[in-house]
């Protein structure tokens, strides 16, 4: 492997890791606060991507300049969070917090099944391609290779901003501290007057919005077609599980680990690129069942 290929693999890995992190952090945030694994998270990602592509195409067709592709992403992410995520929590998830974990899993799985078909109904099965944003930002020459500014600079910046922003939000702001307090002890939080329902709703909207944002940001870099939601939920679960469920900073590191592993596999043994993330996960979980950064839950008896 020469330097050019090495750099390409490195940049691919970083760009990919940034996207996966944005999606995975939403998944792990929801789990951390609500103790629910949203299997439909991948569908929210896919719908964010579809919605962005459609909005962008529509906006461009309306004669607006290409720069409007970026606000379209933000709008899509917010729509996914508020219009889709909000009602999901409010109408469905709220009913199952006290039910057995199996039922919680089944409910989000059912939502996943529904949303996968909703996508196909709205956007069909043909691949959709909308790369205006990617082209608009052009290329940058880094060392000896050309790479898109969008993937090499914008995506990592968004991911890092999110990581720092979330850290700051959870540790330094009142709303963030309320969320953390609810995470640690829901009943105690309610006893001191925290509206846990509102915290859960807000968390789910933000988490769903992050899935949507991941999809929105991914949309210019790839063709959007049925099945990407299923791939993404498994992949982001792999990231989140490798890190330890609920670990935000850990998710950033494992996203990088898995992103790089995958992109190097592409250049070394292409058939295995889809396998590498899971091999990493299995290897980590064999040694540390609770994930790299998770701590084993001690049950009180």
């Amino acid at each position: 492997m020469n330097l050019t290929l090495f750099l390409l693999a490195l940049f691919d890995g970083i760009a990919y890791a940034a996207l996966v992190f944005i999606v995975a952090v939403g998944l792990t945030l929801i789990f951390g606060v609500m103790r629910i694994l949203n299997v439909a998270h991948g569908s929210l990602y896919a719908m964010g991507a579809y919605l962005t592509a459609s909005l962008t195409t529509f906006v461009l067709a309306a004669g607006l300049p290409p720069i409007f592709a970026f606000p379209c992403m933000l709008v899509s992410a917010i729509l996914i969070g508020v219009v889709l995520g909000g009602p999901l929590e409010w109408l469905l998830l709220r009913r199952i917090y006290h039910k057995p974990e199996v039922l919680q899993l089944l409910v989000t799985f059912a939502i996943f099944m529904i949303l996968e078909d909703v996508q196909r109904l709205i956007w069909g099965t043909q691949p959709i391609f909308q790369s205006t944003a990617l082209q608009l930002m052009g290329n940058v020459r880094a060392f000896s290779v050309n790479y898109t500014v969008y993937q090499l600079i914008l995506l990592p910046i968004v991911a890092i901003t999110l990581l720092i922003g979330l850290r700051f939000f959870l540790r330094r702001t009142v709303a963030g501290k309320l969320i953390l307090a609810t995470t640690e002890d829901r009943e105690a939080a309610q006893a001191i007057g925290i509206d846990a329902d509102k915290v859960f709703l807000l968390t789910f909207i933000v988490g769903a919005g992050l899935a949507g944002l991941g999809g929105a940001l991914a949309s210019p870099t790839t063709s959007i077609l049925p099945g990407i939601g299923a791939d993404m939920i498994v992949l982001s679960f792999a990231v989140v599980a490798t890190a330890g469920l609920g670990q935000i900073e850990g998710a950033a590191l494992t996203a990088l680990l898995i992103g790089l592993g995958r992109s190097f596999a592409v250049y070394v043994w292409p058939e295995t690129q889809v396998l590498v993330p899971y091999l990493i996960m299995v290897a980590v979980l064999l040694v540390r069942p609770e994930g790299l950064f998770g701590s084993p839950a001690a049950r009180k008896i």
Binding site: L37, V102, M113, I114, L121, V234, V274, Y278
Partner: protein, 294 residues
């Protein structure tokens, strides 16, 4: 109709695997893995040993599913709930992408053919073969259904069911929860494998779709529809499911997953007992009215 019922029975056997798991409070979103491994195992057998008999194909397919059940089980048996469900999903997706990517060996998305084998070294016409497969599936469904029900009542099965309620006590009985889980996991993989190899032999072709999450989801759906944990419910659920799907595909083919999802939500939120639960309630009511009548 007869082929349809054969397929329903094959699927029902696979669903029994999910049903068994549900009795320990666990759900797997990836048991299509074993379904597919058995069918591909059968296909490879027929490719490498042309003219192999049904018994050989069946057994080798089942062995493949059992072995992979042991291997995957060794890894997932220590996990519960979210991790259990999702790790199973991950394994099935890995297998699915292997099937797709290594198309030189697996035929990729086109899958592999399972040419009609001899039955006890007797060549059969298509019609006779299908009739035979129907009775074989029926016998298997009844036999394995009976066995699963007995197993769930047996000491091993009862210990397996305690995973749902108290693993601490299980440890303090001197048992390893992993090993207890493993018993049921391998049984469930074998049941799914039996369903898969039967399905492959009836359809004559196996594709990566056998391992896809939609297939796993379908199995979970039928298990919940039939009544979470009810073995006869799994078979009845599979029959109803296949029949409805055949007639509904004309106008709901594009939104089939959606229909399933909505029904799944309705069952979970409003009739968590599934068909078996509704049946029991009805029986109780009938018994109740009779008692009052006397």
């Amino acid at each position: 109709m007869q082929v349809l019922l054969t397929l329903a029975l094959a699927k029902g056997i696979a669903v029994m695997g999910i049903t068994v798991l549900l009795r320990s409070g666990q759900v797997s979103f990836g048991h299509a893995l074993f379904f597919a491994i058995a069918a591909y195992g059968g296909a490879f057998t027929l490719m490498l040993m042309p003219g192999a008999d049904l018994i050989v194909v069946f057994l080798l397919g089942l062995i493949a599913a059992t072995l992979s059940g042991v291997l995957v089980g060794l890894f997932v048996a220590r996990y519960r709930f979210i991790f259990f469900a999702m790790l199973n999903l991950a394994f099935s997706m890995i297998f699915w992408s292997i099937l797709e990517k290594f198309y030189h060996y697996t035929g990729g998305a086109d899958g592999m053919r399972l040419p009609r084998p001899t039955v006890l070294w007797i060549e059969m016409e298509r019609g006779t073969y299908e009739l035979f497969m129907f009775y074989l599936s029926l016998a298997m469904a009844v036999g394995l259904g009976w066995f699963s029900m007995r197993w769930l009542e047996s000491p091993t099965g009862q210990l397996f069911r305690t995973i749902k309620t108290n693993e601490t006590r299980l440890q303090y009985l001197g048992m390893s929860p992993q090993r207890v889980m493993m018993n049921g996991y391998v049984l469930s993989a074998m049941l799914c494998g039996t369903g898969g190899i039967l399905m492959g032999l009836v359809q004559g072709v196996v594709t990566p779709e056998y391992a896809y999450w939609i297939r796993s989801g379908e199995m979970v759906f039928i298990a919940v529809l039939g009544g979470a944990g009810s073995v006869p419910g799994a078979l009845v659920g599979a029959a109803i499911y296949e029949i409805v799907r055949t007639y509904a595909s004309a106008f709901a083919g594009d939104v089939w997953q959606m229909v399933l999802g909505i029904f799944l939500l309705i069952i979970i939120l409003f009739a968590p007992g599934g068909i078996a639960g509704i049946y029991n309630t009805l029986m109780d009511r009938i018994a109740g009215t009779k008692e009052r009548g006397e």
